[in-house]
């Protein structure tokens, strides 16, 4: 790292990104903070009414009981997606990466596992919608396995007790491959002679895992968890297409709630307030993410 001879050189490299940020980002971020204190139905801002913290009181403190209920449920659903996504994805991905490590058909498997990762998007959300139909593959599979209590007569997405499960399952399907392939790359980057040498020195299997494997797996796990958690809190398109947040709000997330509040109910101020509150919540996670995204500068 050096101090540039001409002091302005580094800034020149930053210029395009900063300009874009000023052009696109700053105004939007700033205005949406301002909006959260207003009551505004859109179009002409001169019709907006300053309301202080009313918007926040509406959905946080129960001034609008329906909104409050919707908000806390939506936030809870985001948390559930983050927690279950992490709990299932990380161990399964790590285990499969170990199994994959010594397989002869690595190339083939890797290509197959890559599929969900690259294709996960709008088109695949429609596929999942089809697979979750009452007549769909999941119900057929459960019936075939004799697990009749798991068969959802209205389809998994069609009943309020299971709709979120469906969303989470499809999320895990899309997110697992990326984590698995990262773990695989990490594990195979270890020089095998390292384990041999450790074995010669009399290190136990546990010590090897702790001293050789874990230091390698840890940073990958952090990145993966951040991606899963961030994905869970940013989720919109999967929910929007598969369930629209329903039935009766059972799969509503903050993203779809904000969208509905703003673009269907035209309550832009309230929508902004909800968005920023969820930002403060994710801020807690942010502090955690920051520590792992810290780069030597």
């Amino acid at each position: 790292m050096i101090a540039a001879r001409k002091k302005w050189v580094p800034y020149l490299f930053l210029l395009p990104g900063i300009l874009l940020f000023l052009f696109v980002g700053v105004y939007s971020v700033g205005f949406s903070v301002v909006l959260s204190f207003y009551n505004w139905a859109g179009i002409d801002f001169s019709t907006a009414r300053f309301e202080g913290l009313d918007n926040f009181r509406d959905f946080l403190l129960g001034d609008d009981p329906v909104m409050t209920r919707n908000f806390y449920y939506a936030l809870l659903h985001n948390f559930e997606m983050a927690v279950f996504g992490t709990l299932f994805t990380i161990p399964i991905a790590l285990a499969l990466a170990f199994v994959l490590q010594h397989s002869k058909l690595v190339g083939f498997y890797r290509t197959v596992y890559f599929l969900p990762m690259v294709a996960s998007g709008v088109a695949i959300f429609y596929v999942w919608k089809g697979l979750f139909e009452p007549s769909g593959a999941l119900n057929s599979l459960f019936a075939w396995l004799g697990l009749d209590f798991l068969v959802a007569p209205n389809g998994m997405l069609g009943s309020s007790s299971t709709s979120l499960v469906g969303i989470i399952l499809s999320g895990i399907w899309g997110g697992l491959p990326g984590t698995l392939l990262l773990y695989y790359a990490g594990l195979s980057s270890v020089d095998p002679t390292l384990y041999e040498a450790a074995g010669v020195d009399g290190a136990s299997r546990l010590t090897m895992i702790r001293k050789i494997t874990w230091p390698l797996v840890k940073p990958i796990t952090l990145i993966a968890v951040i991606q899963i958690v961030n994905g869970a809190f940013q989720s919109f398109e999967n929910v929007y297409i598969m369930t629209g947040g329903g039935p009766s709000g059972s799969s509503e997330v903050v993203g779809t709630l904000v969208y509905r509040t703003a673009f269907l109910n035209n309550d832009y101020g309230l929508a902004s307030a909800i968005g920023w509150t969820s930002f403060l919540v994710t801020g807690l996670i942010a502090i955690f993410s920051f520590r792992s995204l810290r780069t030597d500068l």
């Binding site: 790292m1 050096i2 101090a3 540039a4 050189v9 580094p10 490299f13 930053l14 395009p16 990104g17 874009l20 696109v24 105004y27 939007s28 971020v29 949406s32 199994v99 994959l100 498997y109 290509t111 890559f114 969900p116 690259v118 998007g121 709008v122 088109a123 695949i124 429609y126 596929v127 999942w128 009452p134 593959a137 057929s140 491959p177 392939l181 990262l182 695989y184 790359a185 990490g186 980057s189 390698l216 940073p219 990145i223 961030n230 940013q234 919109f236 398109e237 903050v254 904000v258 969208y259 703003a262 968005g275 920023w276 930002f279 942010a286 993410s289 920051f290 780069t295 030597d296 500068l297």
Partner: protein, 272 residues
């Protein structure tokens, strides 16, 4: 562990990865009635009905949507790679005033929920006259990619030996030349990773285009697919034909780029 247990595990997982695609392709080749059969099968009962593809393609101007998606995705990728390798180069190679503040401001953007800024972003872009333009779709997408791209590029540049820089200076290279002749080619794995992520991300993005675009001439493929969904109720064969058209470009391009992707990702996450 026994070899055959490993294989069964790997194959089972492989099957869950592939099944949705099998179902998508199979259903797209069914007749509308067969596609509603109870219970579903992934395979068409009678003759394969290829005509659905033509119907769907012509029903909506999928050719047009396809071009729009390609233009948007390629420009987003190009923009993200150029703008953020430059920033990362400065972060990784120089000390300068305000460095930490600028870096962390950009990283923090990662955490702002996309939906929150949609409304002001829409107003902002409309005021600039960019609604219903490619630029209006693209610029916010590039900006949105900033945090992760900056993070990964900076980490990657930091792993490259500083002697490279010094020897390039001794050879009389100017700073900008060092950036694009030495560092940019060496960062190819990281560039590949970010390019793939953003290609997929912008190809699949519907939320922003849905808001900034109302002219059908500028619809992207996924928007076309959603339009198809709203116009043909539960015609699974049509919907799946449309879905396949939407994912096929990504499926064809990327399996062989996986190595690059993994290289770049692991270089970014395994910090030395």
């Amino acid at each position: 562990m026994k070899t055959w247990i490993r294989h069964i595990l790997l194959l089972l997982y492989g099957a869950t990865c592939v099944y949705p695609f099998v179902w998508m392709i199979g259903t797209s080749l069914k007749t509308s009635r067969d596609a509603l059969a109870h219970p579903q099968t992934p395979f068409p009962a009678g003759k394969l009905q290829w005509s659905t593809y033509g119907d769907v393609w012509n029903k909506l101007s999928f050719g047009r949507y396809f071009m729009n998606s390609a233009i948007v995705s390629l420009l987003v990728v190009a923009g993200v790679v150029i703008v953020y390798t430059m920033m990362a180069f400065a972060f990784a190679k120089f000390t300068f005033a305000g460095k930490k503040t600028i870096y962390y401001t950009f990283i923090a953007l990662l955490l702002i929920p996309g939906v929150t800024v949609l409304i002001p972003l829409y107003i902002n872009m409309t005021n600039l006259g960019l609604n219903n333009t490619y630029l209006g779709i693209i610029l916010p997408m590039i900006n949105g990619a900033a945090p992760f791209a900056i993070f990964l590029f900076t980490s990657y540049f930091r792993t490259l030996s500083h002697e490279l820089y010094e020897s390039a200076v001794l050879d009389g290279c100017g700073t900008f030349k060092i950036y694009y002749r030495v560092y940019l080619p060496l960062a190819l794995p990281a560039i590949g990773t970010i390019a793939i992520m953003n290609f997929i991300g912008s190809w699949n993005n519907i939320l922003w285009p849905m808001i900034i675009v109302d002219s059908k001439d500028l619809f992207t493929l996924p928007m076309g697919l959603m339009y198809l969904d709203s116009s043909s109720f539960k015609k699974w064969n049509e919907l799946m034909a449309g879905a396949l058209i939407t994912v096929i470009p990504i499926l064809l391009t990327f399996p062989f780029m996986q190595k690059l992707y993994i290289q770049g990702m692991s270089a970014g996450s395994v910090k030395s």
